[in-house]
Symmetry: C2
DNA sequence: CTGCATCCGGGCCGATACTG
DNA sequence: CAGTATCGGCCCGGATGCAG
């Protein structure tokens, strides 16, 4: 990208990561190291040459490194983009009510809104294991020792099984939808939802998503 | 900008404000309402047609509104981009050591790194009035009742007068440069620097900029 | 003078075909 | 699997025109 040529932090940042697709690549790598084809799958719509070019640029400026096994990883500085990506995601929450007609979705993207909803440690959170079936693959939400984590795959013995489109799932997780509202969006629930509500922070910190 | 067509908060955000120049326009409006030509001046390098087009798009999606007196203002939602702009600026701090040869600079941009350095209220901060001469116009940094503010223009009776290139000025303000280091970068100082150091938070919160 | 609109050249982006 | 090569089209940048 052509430089803005301004001595300003924002301009410098955008010179580095303002190119199309760049922050979405970072989004993928925030979850963990990824191989080229995994990135392609997590970035529906990107052209293969663009992905290759962006990865080269990001390596040159020190945002990512390439491991021997053909995986790409964020450097420590690159991980600093976490706050940027989450600030943008939080800001766009009001736009997320419904998926647009041709929107793509990948299950592992769930990890980001979930981390927004359940960030931090809260000892009052019950232990819980939730199977989520939305998008292209099953995911597990696990609450342990006051901390909530998200992983690919099904849990061994889920307390709760959710299935349906991502807006309904997230609406249910955020508390913006109740069981009936989520059902209207095509979400099916097996199990007790009451424990789910207790995962959220008590002092309504997740308000940004709920708006 | 062509939509990413992904049901993801980050993608939605970039669909809205990922276009070239958009976040820089927001940077300008974060300081306050601005007229068209003021924006042109604060955005060196932008083409006039692009500014007009971006302003129209930003109004359509509800990030800005147009006041009767031909000024553009951020909506409440638009002001939410503060966190995005500052997250990007903070992340890019390591790139800000020196201006590049042809970098432009505007004095009022100082307000952003200064708000990063001196955010919040700290009653132990001394009352202080600083005149800063860098860029295209003089600026005033004022510390009152534990809060630091930045305004255009010269103070009536400054305790301290700084002049020189912006990297030296910011280096001095952040504490990353001492008087000698700043002098090497062409900064002249009139007055006592010790009070300046007391403006910074005691628990080294400005570490991001200092790195 | 301010606040844009129009026009045009160049570069970046998107889609697909192809290769080690 | 992990990219490279190519080409059409669109967006951006810069200059200029023009209405209130």
């Amino acid at each position: 990208m052509r430089s803005y040529r301004q001595y300003c932090g924002l301009a410098r940042a955008l010179d580095s990561v303002g190119d199309r697709w760049v922050l979405l690549i970072v989004r993928e790598l925030l979850v963990g190291p990824r191989r080229y084809n995994e990135l392609l799958d997590g970035l529906p719509g990107i052209a293969t040459n663009l992905l290759a070019e962006r990865l080269r640029e990001l390596e040159e400026i020190g945002v990512i490194t390439r491991h021997g096994d053909h995986t790409y990883v964020l450097t420590e500085w690159g991980q600093g983009l976490h706050d940027v990506v989450y600030a943008l995601g939080r800001w766009a929450a009001p736009l997320m009510d419904r998926p647009a007609p041709h929107d793509e979705f990948r299950s592992h993207w769930l990890s980001h809104p979930i981390h927004l909803l359940y960030e931090g440690v809260d000892r009052r959170r019950p232990k819980l294991s939730v199977e989520v079936n939305t998008g292209n693959a099953p995911m597990t939400i696990a609450s342990n020792a006051g901390r909530v984590s998200v992983m690919p795959g099904k849990p061994a013995s889920p307390d709760l099984v959710l299935a349906g489109p991502p807006d309904g799932i997230v609406g249910l997780l955020s508390g913006r939808l109740d069981r009936a509202g989520a059902a209207k969006r095509g979400v099916s629930v097996k199990g007790d939802l009451r424990k789910l509500a207790k995962l959220r922070p008590h002092r309504a910190t997740g308000a940004a998503l709920a708006t």
